[in-house]
Every structure is written in structure tokens, then in C-alpha cells.
Symmetry: C2
Subunit: 301 residues, 2 copies
């Protein structure tokens, strides 16, 4: 058992989290959230998304958020850019790192972004080309890596095929997402074992949802496979769109508690992170999805 | 990585769970719960506790519950008996397996059961003797194995010392309990590694609380250490008395989902277990603490 000595947490609360919260919040609250997160020590924050506010009203104002955050040196502030239009808007807003998003399941791709997996990948080619020309790094996401709400099981080989294309097209890192949270520890290990044959493990990240309570077990399983980058969302922001009211993104606080307990360095301060989560939950008027935050608030050990 | 092929779940909901619920429920509802659990395939249920109802009103009527449940062959129905008086009452009720409960932390022992660890162990000697004479098996619990609400860290060697005494005095199995849920995966492995030097691993069980969301990661870590018996509570019954409103016992459904995903046999039917949990939650008028139950109810994948 050799675990990574350092883990990088990719904070997706301001984007993936807020995008899946019912209630849109204003630019000032988003700016405060991002600044709170970097003050807590997070070195990577996905700040927003450059998409039409007609489709995703929660992501309106991403350019203003980028303009107003206190950019700390050493911190990566990223944006999701699903196409060239979004990429150009992100560049106009001074964004220095972007992300693209594909699915491992054909049905999910069709229903979620209205095109086939191949079409979505083709759409990313000009984005990757333009990014390379401007020296902008691109991170790739693959969703439904351990199950699809429409197809059920998804073969690791299918995930590997999509991840390989993203990597080959220039994504420096590919994050594998258990979008519906049905994955368990053994399948997680198999997944990284299979995908890790094509892509170096230090270029892979894990993105787990806690819908079935399995996220931390899956992260521990991933650590045992040498994975050292994980996406998480402060206060567990973002529900599960496929099981309304259920948990979605694993809470950053809970992941950090696990990593701290394992003696793995992250550079993040748990108390400051909990405070950031409590503040945004108050803004949203929602429960805190972090068990650690709730236990600490309630006087736990 | 070799995982056990079979795991035994020790269902503690009717005892450890209900004892920590604010509202006492009637005998008929307890009987129904136990019968639902064994119908779902559970082979070990801790049914009640023989203690003064003055101190633990939730456990009143344990004798009646034992008299009224439909005892299935091959199922162990156990009771907690903290002293000789409780043991005699359990015998009068026809109980065939009992459990005793010690702490790994001196402060916790003093505050929880008003005596030192040594005194509590001395109190169990006549219980173990009487049990042996009657051919009744005794299971031992050790609490605070990964942290104490009063002392903080607890050394694995201290846990090993208490576990060794229980084992030497005749307990056929010793369950190590993370009472406040602060344990993480690495510490869990170290604990079983240390305690496993004195007691065969097939005589050890894990008892995890999900207060900090770590329970399933800890169970996966325990499985990797060869532990094949886990205590859990249907619907996560039983809060955490040291962090009011926070999660306590890990939910049996969530543990079963993990084990099913790992291909580990338990003989338990998940849907029937979820139904048992939903029913008792309706009786108690409380939320279901199982994420799997909530996700399934809400239409998750």
C-alpha cells in the first residue's frame, strides 16, 4: 500500500456545484465563494462556465466573476467551455485554463448535450487547437464512467476509449466522473487499472458523487491505484439531477478529512474550508452536504 | 488485494440504533423490525438490551420482543447484557447469545458506564462464566477505538489490550467500534494490524459510525485487512450522542451496496432491507439515514 504523498483537490463547487443548484446566485456571492476557497488553500478552482445563460441561468455572469476575483499566484482558475463560442468568450474574460466535457455513454451524450460522443469530441478539436495556439491548458472530463442513468453499466474499455481521445487531442489531464454515484470501490480500481494502461496515472483524476454514499470509499480505492487528483465540491454543492434531492458531488470537506487522516498533503485548511461552505450554504438557504461540516457544527469530536 | 468472499453483517439497528433514537417505540414495532430484517436475509440481529428501563427507556420490553419475534433457524438473535442482573433476565427471556460492552478510553468508560475499564471488565467475568456454563456465546464490544470524545486520540495498543482481555475471558468475537466516527482509512488499517497480532482476524469485527462520512472508506480499508464481520444499523438508526443531529451508525443498506458492488456474498436482499428501513423510519417519523435508500426512493440509477 503506497499512497500519494500529495493530492490536488480540484474544487468544482462554483461551477459544477452551483450549476446544479436550483437557485441562481449573484456575481458578488460567487466572487466571495471563489476567494474564500483560495484563501482556504485550494490551488485549483473551476470558477464558471461559458455557456448561454438561456440554457444554464446559474452560470450567468461568469466573465464578471473572473474579472472580480482576487487572483492569487499559484492558483488555477478554470472555466468550462463546451465549444468555440464559449472558448472565445472565456479568452475575452482573460481565462487561462479551460475544460471540456464528454460522456462515456452514448445515450447520456445524446440526452445531455444533444450529440453523439464522436460529435462532441469533434467539437472539441478546434477548441483544443485554439487553446494550444494561445498556450491555454485544457482539462477533459468524462462522465458516466461507472454507470449511466439510461444504459446502466458502462464498460471500462468504453471509458478508456473516450479518455484516450481527449488525451490524444491535447487534454493534459482527464477526470473520470461517476456522474450517478453508483460506482463501488472494486469497480473504481478496475476502471483506473484499465484506463491507466493508455494514460499515465498522474494524468488521471477521479470525480465521485456521493449519491449512494460510496464516494470516499471510491476515493480511497483510487488513492490505492495511485490517483492523486480529485474533483470535489465545497459543502457538497450540486444535487444529483438524476435523483432529485439526493447527494451529488462529494463534499470537499469530507475528502479533505480523509486525506488529512491519511497524512496526505493538500495545502488546504479544513476549518477555513468549512467556513467557506457554511457561508455559501447560508446564501443558498440549503443544508450543508458535508458530514464533517455538520459534525463540527454540532460539536462532534 | 484479496477481499473476503463472504461477509457477515451484524444488524444493530433494533438495539444500538433504537437506543439512541429520542423516541421510544412499542414492542409490536420492534418485533416487526426484527422480523423484517431477518426476512431480508440478515443472519445476526442484536434485538435488545437487558438494562433498567429507568436508564434506557428505549430498551423497555426487550423480553417481550424476544418472546414475539418469529425466530428463524440459522439466525442469531442477541441481547446486550451489561451485568449479571441483565444476563439472568436475558436467560429468563430465552436469549441464546449475549454481548458485553467495554471502552478503550478510560474517560469514556467513567462517563458512559461510571466505572473504570478494569472495573467494567471485572464485572463481565461472572457473566462470561455463567454464559459458558449455559453454552451461551458472548460477543464483546470495544468502543472509542479510533478516538474518544473526551481524550481525543486513542492508541491502538490500548484498544488491543482491552480486546485481548475480552477475548481471553471468553468472548468468541470482539467488535471494534469507532464510536465518534473520527477514524479514517489508514488508522483503521493500523488498528486491525495491531489488534490482529493478538487476536485472529476472523474473530474481529468492525463497527463504524458515519459522523464524518468515513464509515464506508473505513469498511473498505478493513476488508483489505481481512476483516469479514461488520456491525451496521438499518436506515442508519441511532444518531451520534456526541454530536446531536449528526449521523451515527453506518446504514446497513449503504454497507450492503458496497459489498454487493465488490461481489462479496452476504445473503441479504437490498430491496427488502431498504423496505425494512423505510418502514421503521415511518414509525419513528425520521429521515432515512441511508443514502442508498434515499437515492433509490428518489429515482436514482
Amino acid at each position: 500500500m503506497t499512497l500519494p504523498q500529495h493530492v490536488r483537490l480540484v474544487e468544482v463547487g462554483p461551477r459544477d456545484g452551483l450549476q446544479n443548484e436550483k437557485q441562481p446566485i449573484g456575481v458578488a456571492d460567487k466572487v466571495r465563494l471563489v476567494d474564500d476557497l483560495t484563501a482556504a488553500g485550494l490551488e485549483y478552482v473551476e470558477v464558471g462556465s461559458f455557456v448561454s445563460p438561456k440554457w444554464v441561468p446559474q452560470m450567468a455572469g461568469s466573465a464578471e466573476v473572473f474579472a472580480q476575483i482576487r487572483q492569487k499566484s499559484g492558483v488555477t482558475y478554470a472555466a468550462l467551455t463546451p465549444n468555440m463560442q464559449g472558448f472565445e468568450a472565456a479568452m475575452a474574460a482573460g481565462v487561462k485554463e479551460v475544460a471540456v466535457f464528454a460522456a462515456a455513454s452514448e445515450s447520456f451524450s445524446q440526452r445531455n448535450i444533444n450529440c453523439s460522443i464522436a460529435e462532441s469530441l469533434a467539437r472539441f478539436v478546434p477548441v483544443l487547437g485554439a487553446a494550444r495556439a494561445r498556450g491555454v491548458r485544457v482539462r477533459g472530463y468524462v462522465s458516466c464512467v461507472l454507470g449511466c442513468p439510461y444504459e446502466g453499466e458502462v464498460a471500462p474499455q468504453q471509458v478508456a476509449s473516450v479518455a484516450r481521445e481527449l488525451f490524444a487531442m491535447g487534454c493534459y489531464e482527464v477526470s473520470l466522473g461517476d456522474t450517478i454515484g453508483t460506482g463501488t470501490a472494486g469497480k473504481t480500481r478496475t476502471l483506473f487499472d484499465v484506463v491507466g494502461r493508455d494514460i499515465p496515472r498522474d494524468r488521471l483524476a477521479g470525480h465521485f458523487h456521493d449519491t449512494y454514499g460510496q464516494a470516499l470509499a471510491n476515493i480511497y480505492a483510487s488513492l490505492l491505484e495511485g490517483i492523486a487528483v480529485f474533483d470535489s465540491s465545497v459543502a457538497g454543492l450540486g444535487g444529483c439531477p438524476y435523483a432529485k434531492g439526493a447527494s451529488g458531488n462529494v463534499a470537499s470537506e469530507d475528502v479533505l478529512y480523509l486525506l488529512d487522516g491519511l497524512g496526505i498533503h493538500t495545502g488546504i485548511d479544513l476549518q477555513a474550508l468549512i467556513a467557506a461552505g457554511e457561508r455559501i450554504c447560508a446564501v443558498l438557504g440549503r443544508d450543508n452536504g458535508s458530514r464533517v461540516a455538520r459534525a463540527r457544527r454540532l460539536g462532534g469530536g
